[in-house]
Amino acid sequence: MSAASASFLLPSIIILPIAAMLLAFFLGGRRAMQIALIASPLGLALASGIAFVVWQIDQPLVYVIGGWAPPLGVALRADGFSAVMLVTTALIIALTGCFALGLFGTKEKPEKRAPFTFWMLLLSVWAALNGVFLGWDLFNCYVGLEMLTFAAVPLVCLDGRAATLMAALRYLLFALLGSALYLLGAALLYGAYGALDIGLLSARIRSEPAAWVALAAMTAGLLAKTALFPLHLWLPPAHAGAPPPASAMLSALVVKASFFLVVRLWLNLAPSEMAESVAQILAAMGAAAIIVGSVLALRQARLKLLIAYSTVAQIGYLFLIFPLALGAHPWVASAWVGGALQAVSHAFAKAAMFLSAGLITQALGHDRIAEFRGLGRKAAPAVLAFGLGGVSLMGLPPSGGFAAKWLLLTASIESGHWTWALVIAVGGLLTAGYVYRVIAPALAPEEVPSPTSAAHVSLSGAALALALALSAIMLFFVPPEFSNFLLAGAPGAIAKLVR
């Protein structure tokens, strides 16, 4: 299949979830679930198709909408990193969708509103994520980000309790601040350089005040949406309050979309002399996120809040790639691959942990860590999935998290950035600490054995959580060709160096 004929895959993967959502909207309540369940394997096939083509042609796949080339038209572009994110998204959407069958099944009568809304939002989140990962036009990415916000915020408050409404509104206000700043930056860039296409802009942009103000505003906005420390305040209540499958999608995928655009801005778009001076600041914020997020996770009394704070910490690792992946150095490739692996392995591990937290809450009726004694006997599969996800988060071999953190660690040692290496190591220890805080009481025997030894844990739900956790582990075994694939279409210096 030639690249030109294969490029129709790019719009298809955005059209599919949107078409499914519209169809579900018109056919109403009971059909929404079936449509989502039919669409998700199709989307996974499309994403795999895109990944396969990018791997075959070994360069970015580009689709020019309507045949109008930028700057007049809008281009969609899939490089190695976007293809990997597309496949990850499709897999996690499909698996959390199956998990949600029990929780948001639309079989029972009378029809309820929350399940219908959930399936619509699932499809919207998915469409928006695909749009952002394929976006090669700053304004197109803005629309994708906004669609993502509008789908993610209601997911937080599906149950309509005051606490979750508040979390959702706080999330929305942070996100709106972010989107206004992003749009301001896009306007300034268009005013200064007359283009919104990332490729065209990167050729025209120079290190001057207009570019600085624009990129600073956009970055600040995107950081608010990514919840990078110190803009993380909205994340823990929002991610912890949402229903388990929604938390899994929010923590695993939604925060990655705005991170993805930060990568686009500083590694694809900005001139390297600008990026180099900002990279240290981004990495310092990432390092602070790792330490503060992990320490706060250690102090949480509730399992879901612990997992949410762990997301704050794990996002920090992603921002360490900026100083490491810049310039023509031998270590940039490992930093780039390590960053992408961290994004993907965290997505799988975190989805597994939120789903198992849902199962544990279901089994016990609460998620207070202090009362977890005997849980290992009551809800063994859920504890196993949580533990395996934790193994990947703390970076124990063999796991995707280990591969990611090892690559970041070697890149920071080779480049002489000892501080980042130290932060990665300390972050790993702290992660081990908070995972241990959950696993240790769960495996301890109960003081007074309760009569109900086998609590009700949905086996299919546990199998799905385990599948996600195992995917995070299996990323350790990806062949070396995977690195080359991730480097297809990687930002200039990184790709040139390897070839």
């Binding site: 029990g102 929780l103 948001f104 304004f139 803005y142 629309v143 906004e146 916000t149 509008f150 915020v153 209601p154 408050c157 149950d159 309509g160 309790r161 005051a162 606490a163 979750t164 409404l165 508040m166 959702a168 509104l169 706080r170 929305l172 206000l173 709106l176 601040l177 989107s179 206004a180 749009l183 301001l184 896009a186 306007a187 300034l188 268009y190 005013g191 007359g194 919104l196 209540p237 912890a240 309050g241 229903p243 388990p244 509730r302 879901k304 809040l305 937290a357 849902g358 199962l359 809450t361 279901q362 009726g365 609460h366 998620d367």
Partner: protein, 113 residues
């Protein structure tokens, strides 16, 4: 100072005022209105840029205007969503502010259906 510069400066001032309001006002409706002031500033800036980027001699660059229309639709939907959430929150807790202390964390019954 010509009118385009004036529009640009006014837009910048609105962005600044909106940002200030969004961060400092505790009343949630004021926060939402501040977001709209900020958005209005950005749209005004787009207008000024459309006028300035008029190199082809066609009066005004149409691209920023197309962007502004999309931006207005997005800001409108955002405001609608925020106001709907605020109304619901106001009904639940009785006032349009974030309480000083967080309400109870995730529900006991999460995941139980």
């Amino acid at each position: 100072m010509n009118s385009v510069t004036l529009a640009g400066l006014a837009g910048a001032a609105m962005v600044g005022l909106g940002l200030f309001g969004l961060i400092t006002h505790p009343h949630l409706l004021r926060k939402i209105v501040s977001f709209n002031v900020m958005g209005g500033g950005v749209f005004l800036l787009f207008g000024a840029i459309a006028r300035r980027g008029d190199a082809a001699g066609i009066g005004a660059d149409p691209v920023p205007q197309a962007l502004v229309i999309t931006g207005i639709v997005v800001a409108f939907s955002a405001t609608a969503l925020a106001v709907a959430l605020l109304l619901r929150l106001d009904r639940e807790i009785g006032r349009p502010f974030f309480p000083a202390k967080e309400l109870a964390g995730p529900s006991e019954k999460d995941g139980a259906t």
